[in-house]
C-alpha cells in the first residue's frame, strides 16, 4: 500500500490519497496520468496489468488500486 501511495503522491503531491475515493470521478487522475501510473505500477510490482482491468472502478482510490494489484499478484 505504501508503494502505491508513493507512486500516486509522485503524480500529485498535494492530494490526500489515503482518503480520496473519487480519483477518476473527480478527474484527479486523468488521461495525462494513467499511462505513467500504469507503467509505474507495472515496474514497481513487476506485473502486467491486462487491458480489461484498466477500468474506472479499479482506479478510483488507492485502496481500489491496491486490491487490483493484490489480485494480479495472486493470479501469477
Amino acid at each position: 500500500m505504501d508503494q502505491i501511495l508513493e507512486i500516486l503522491e509522485g503524480l500529485h503531491p498535494e492530494v490526500d490519497f489515503e482518503t480520496c475515493r473519487t480519483l477518476i470521478d473527480d478527474k484527479i487522475i486523468d488521461s495525462f496520468d494513467i499511462v505513467t501510473l500504469i507503467s509505474d505500477l507495472s515496474e514497481e510490482f513487476d506485473i502486467s496489468i491486462p487491458v480489461e482491468e484498466i477500468v474506472p472502478e479499479n482506479f478510483n482510490s488507492a485502496k481500489a488500486i491496491h486490491t487490483l494489484i493484490e489480485r494480479l499478484l495472486e493470479d501469477e
Binding site: 503531491p13 498535494e14 488521461s31 499511462v35 505513467t36 487491458v51 480489461e52
Partner: protein, 504 residues
C-alpha cells in the same frame, strides 16, 4: 464563383443532407439543419447587439452547441475565441486582458463560472441567443461586406514570456487548408470522424470544416474514454468511426496497453496523427492490427492555420527511425534556412520556414512578436513576401522527404500540446516563496520536471501551479533543490540539470 467564406461550406450542404447528424457527443446530436438555423440565429443576435469585426469569446463545454456558436460568431462578422472550460482562472484572465472582449457566450454550466471572473463585459447564454429570429437581410449585408482576409477565429498558444499568444486566422487560410487536407485524407460524405483534440486549439479544424464541406459526421469522444482503452474502442465501433486525427499519445495509449489483443477498431480506415513523434514500436502494432488502414503523419504550426506537411506511411521503419513529415500540402511551400538565412546543402539541417496562403494573419495585438516570426523571405529580394519561421529544425532524407529534427528553443510537445517551458517557469516564479525555478523535459518518458529553490513544500508548489496553469502544462514531477546550478554567465544550467536527471 470562388469561395471566399467558410460558411459557404455549410450553405452548400444544408439542402443536400438537412437531417443528417453533423456533430454529436455521447448525449446529443445536431443535424446540418440545426447547425444552419442556430448559427444564423446567433449571427443575427450578435449583429443586432452591435458587435462587428471584433473578438467574441466562446466559453462553453465540449459539445456540438459550442461548434454551432463558432459559426454563429462568423455569421455576425466577428471572430470566435474558444476558451477551455477547464482552463484555470489566471490564464483565462490573461487572455481576457489581451482581448478585452465586449461579449462572451456561455452555456448553462459555464455561465456560473464566468460570474466569478473579473470581467465587466456582456455575457450571453447560448439557450437564449438561439431563440433569436433570423434576419436574412442583416446576414446578407454582413456577408456582402466580408472579405476572405477577415479573421474568423483566434486561438491561444503558449508564450515563453508567460503570456499566451493569440493566433488570428482568416477565411482564406482556413479554406486553403481544408481543401488540401481533405484531399490528402480522402474525406467524403461517408466519413465518420472521432474527434479527440480540444475545441480551443486549431487541431479541431480537421474535423469541423471537412464535416461541413462533405456532409460528413463528427463524433466528439468523451475525454474520460482516453484513460480506458477498451471503452474507447467500444465507442469507436459503436459509432462506426472510420477516420481519426489524433495526437500520438492518444493512439499509443491504445496500443501500449495491449488493447488490440481484446478488441479492434473495426471501421477505422484513416489514421492521421501528428504533433509528436510516433514511437515505431507502437506504430508497428497499429499497422499490424489495421493492415488496410492508411496512416498519415501531419506536421504544422498553429501560425500556419493547421497542418502544412503530410506523409503517408508506405514503407517499414527501423525502431530508431523517425516517420518523416514528408512534403508540403498543395499550395504550401517549405524552405529550409541555415544560420545565415541561406539554403543548407542537401541533407543538412535548416530551420523549417513556410510560405503560402496557409499563413495566418499573426498574433493578436502583438506586432512585435508577429514581426519576429512572420518575416520577409530572405531568398526573395525583389518584392514583399512573407514566410513563417517555425523555430523547428528539419532536413531532407535520402528519399527527398522532410524530417523533423528538433526545436531551436525550449518549446516542447507534450500530450499533443505545444508548451513553452519558459511559461511554466514564469508562473512558478510568481509564487512568492520560490526563489528560482527551472523546467526540463524528459523526451523519452514524456515528463515535465520542475526544479525549484525555496522554502515551500512540493505539495504547495503543485497546488499553486494547478491554480495557474492548464492541466497539460502542470509538471509531472517536482523536485526541490538547495541551490540551482548556474552557468558561468549566471544563467540556470539546464544542461547540468538534465544530466543529473538522466543519471537517476
Amino acid at each position: 464563383m470562388m469561395q471566399n467564406n467558410v460558411l459557404e461550406y455549410l450553405e452548400n450542404i444544408v439542402d443536400k443532407v438537412p437531417d443528417k447528424i453533423a456533430y454529436a457527443d455521447e448525449n446529443n446530436g445536431a443535424t446540418f439543419k440545426d447547425v444552419f438555423d442556430k448559427s444564423r440565429a446567433i449571427g443575427t443576435f450578435l449583429s443586432k447587439q452591435g458587435y462587428n469585426k471584433e473578438p467574441v469569446v466562446v466559453f462553453m463545454g465540449k459539445h456540438p452547441d459550442a461548434i454551432i456558436t463558432f459559426y454563429g460568431v462568423i455569421y455576425s462578422g466577428c471572430y470566435y475565441v474558444p476558451i477551455d472550460e477547464e482552463m484555470p482562472r489566471h490564464r483565462i484572465e490573461l487572455i481576457f486582458q489581451s482581448l478585452k472582449p465586449r461579449a462572451v457566450i456561455c452555456d448553462a454550466d459555464t455561465i456560473n463560472t464566468i460570474e466569478k471572473f473579473d470581467y465587466k463585459g456582456n455575457v450571453y447564454q447560448y439557450d437564449d441567443v438561439i431563440k433569436t429570429v433570423v434576419d436574412e437581410s442583416i446576414l446578407a449585408d454582413i456577408r456582402y461586406r466580408q472579405i476572405d482576409t477577415d479573421p474568423i477565429y483566434i486561438v491561444f498558444t503558449s508564450g515563453s514570456t508567460g503570456i499566451p499568444k493569440g493566433v488570428v486566422a482568416c477565411h482564406r487560410s482556413v479554406i486553403d487548408y481544408i481543401e488540401n487536407l481533405s484531399d490528402v485524407l480522402k474525406i467524403n460524405e461517408d466519413t465518420v470522424f472521432g474527434n479527440q483534440t480540444p475545441l480551443y486549439v486549431d487541431a479541431c479544424l480537421k474535423e469541423l470544416y471537412p464535416t461541413l464541406k462533405y456532409g460528413a459526421t463528427t463524433y466528439i469522444i468523451p475525454k474520460s474514454l482516453f484513460m480506458f482503452p477498451l471503452k474507447l474502442v467500444e465507442f469507436l465501433n459503436d459509432k462506426k468511426i472510420n477516420t481519426v486525427c489524433w495526437v500520438v499519445s492518444a493512439l499509443t495509449m491504445i496500443s501500449a496497453f495491449g488493447t488490440f489483443e481484446k478488441a479492434l477498431p473495426e471501421y477505422l480506415r484513416t489514421v492521421a496523427f501528428g504533433s509528436e513523434v510516433f514511437p515505431i514500436k507502437q506504430f508497428k502494432l497499429w499497422k499490424k492490427n489495421l493492415p488496410d488502414a492508411r496512416f498519415i503523419n501531419l506536421y504544422g504550426p498553429t501560425e500556419c492555420t493547421g497542418m502544412s506537411c503530410y506523409y503517408e506511411v508506405n514503407r517499414d521503419f527501423e525502431l530508431d527511425e523517425a516517420i518523416p513529415i514528408g512534403r508540403p500540402f498543395k499550395n504550401t511551400d517549405i524552405i529550409l534556412l541555415d544560420d545565415e538565412d541561406k539554403q543548407p546543402k542537401p541533407g543538412e539541417n535548416g530551420e523549417i520556414c513556410i510560405r503560402g496562403t496557409g499563413l495566418t494573419l499573426g498574433y493578436y495585438k502583438n506586432f512585435e512578436k508577429t514581426n519576429e516570426v512572420f518575416v520577409q523571405n530572405p531568398l526573395n529580394t525583389s518584392y514583399p513576401e512573407l514566410i513563417y519561421r517555425t523555430g523547428d529544425l528539419g532536413r531532407y532524407n535520402e528519399h527527398g522527404e522532410l524530417i523533423f529534427v528538433s526545436r531551436k528553443d525550449n518549446q516542447i510537445k507534450h500530450m499533443g500540446h505545444r508548451i513553452e517551458l519558459g511559461e511554466i517557469e514564469v508562473v512558478a516564479n510568481m509564487q512568492p516563496e520560490i526563489k528560482s525555478a527551472c523546467c526540463i523535459f524528459d523526451e523519452l518518458k514524456k515528463k515535465i520536471i520542475l526544479y525549484y529553490v525555496g522554502d515551500i513544500t512540493k505539495a504547495e508548489v503543485a497546488s499553486f501551479l494547478k491554480q495557474k496553469l492548464p492541466r497539460y502544462m502542470v509538471p509531472n514531477m517536482i523536485e526541490k533543490l538547495d541551490n540551482m546550478p548556474l552557468t558561468s554567465n549566471g544563467k540556470i544550467n539546464r544542461v547540468l540539470l538534465k544530466e543529473s536527471y538522466n543519471r537517476k
